[in-house]
């Protein structure tokens, strides 16, 4: 098993970005398939429960065929045209593009979801501020807001029940959800204002340079993670170039 959970989140983010950039340079089924096969082989060693894997990656499995369908129907045509209706034109060219798109969405989406499952927001923020040197006031502000997600979800449930209690939950679903969304925004800004007072009172945003109670680790595991991302991207590109299917897209 690969202990991916303990790797610095910044390295995971970097690896995902590297693979994505290689895949973005081309649209062909060979590079996407190569990357996907390598990724799945690596993911198999992460030791993720199958149920959790399918649940979290579900959006990717839904979106891939739909994006491909759009390309199939409206993609650039080439070769034999099999079907034509208004703007729809299915051809050899659009079929090939659609297949490539399907595989590419999977190859970009799946590893990102899997790498992000194990990310702890606090470690991520530490990495962003200490390793990437992003401005610490903003990184920590965002981290403090992320911690409030649990409160937002509780608020949302209460807002829902409260609408039933007020006698307005029988009809007008869309309007009701919009109203709840607005109420949640009011509540969250109120909480945010109070939180900012608490943070400011604890010296946040002052002129003293900040120290860090936790060190954001960076060592062999992190370099290795980036290297694996690079290898996957390079292998996919090389295989595609060798088989002659690699095509640089610019616009």
């Amino acid at each position: 098993m690969i202990p991916i959970a303990s790797v610095n989140p910044v390295a995971k983010l970097g690896a995902g970005l590297i693979v994505s950039l290689f895949l973005l340079a081309t649209i062909d089924w060979v590079s996407a398939t190569t990357a996907l096969v390598l990724e799945l082989a690596i993911i198999a060693f992460f030791g993720i429960e199958p149920k959790r894997f399918w649940l979290r990656t579900l959006p990717v499995w839904l979106a891939a065929p739909l994006t491909a369908l759009t390309i199939l129907l409206y993609g650039r045509y080439d070769g034999t045209v099999y079907f034509e209706f208004l703007l729809i034109r299915i051809s050899d060219g659009s079929i090939e593009l659609a297949l490539a798109t399907f595989l590419r969405v999977l190859a970009i989406g799946l590893p990102a979801v899997v790498l992000f499952i194990s990310i702890d927001p606090t470690d991520f923020a530490d990495g962003l501020a200490q390793r990437l040197r992003l401005p610490d006031r903003f990184v920590i502000g965002a981290l403090a807001a992320v911690r409030m997600v649990g409160l937002f979800l509780e608020d949302w449930r209460s807002l829902e029940l409260a609408r039933r209690a007020r006698g307005v939950a029988d009809r007008g679903r869309v309007r009701r959800i919009a109203g709840q969304g607005f109420a949640l925004l009011v509540l969250s800004i109120r909480r945010g204002s109070k939180l900012s007072i608490a943070m400011e009172a604890r010296g946040f945003g002052g002129d003293t340079p900040r120290t860090w109670a936790r060190e954001s680790p960076w060592g062999q595991a992190e370099w290795l993670t980036l290297l694996v991302g690079l290898l996957v991207g390079v292998t996919a590109t090389v295989v595609a170039v060798l088989t002659g299917s690699w095509n640089l897209i610019v616009g």
Binding site: I71, R190, G192
Partner: protein, 209 residues
Amino acid sequence: MTTTASSSTSTPTKPGSRFQWRVIDIVVASVIGVASGLIFVVWNIASVPALAPFAALLPGLQAIGGGFWLFAGVLTALVIRKPGAAIYGEMVAASVSALIGNQWGVLTLVSGFTQGIGAEIVFAAFLYANWRVSGAILAGAGAGLAMAITDLLLWYPGSALPFIIIYTIAAVVGGMLIAGLLSWFATRGLAATGALNRFGAGREIAKRV
């Protein structure tokens, strides 16, 4: 520690810079970003069935629903009124969406960044002084245009010209209505609840009433 409070001397009020981020700006911008990110997550899934009829009606028209991924930047900027607020709000929301997991993976961050820039450029062009409905709608359009460019490059390379044109127009219109107009109404509503009393957006409305 001795603490004294007295009215004997008078300190003139020192106004902070209009462009400087206070702690409350950072925290509330983050909170709006995170809350918007949760709406993105819901829309990531709900948009698939919701936009299918649009795509069937006219290819590319589905981009009109993209506005629900664009409002975070405009809304944050309208509330906070500081340089960078549009980019920051949209980036935080995109990060939440990516961390929870979606179909666009790491590239969600790229989209968030470009969409934020699209809105930011408009606010900057007005020297961060137009927070009226016109500014909001134009910023929404900017975000929509940025989204169209990014999406067509990243996800629909190899699409035919009619699709490109329709997609771009739909994205801009969706941006204007949902990200622009809706955010402007939301900001007004927020100001009326008193939640923005410590912000320029809130004080302005309070004065008018």
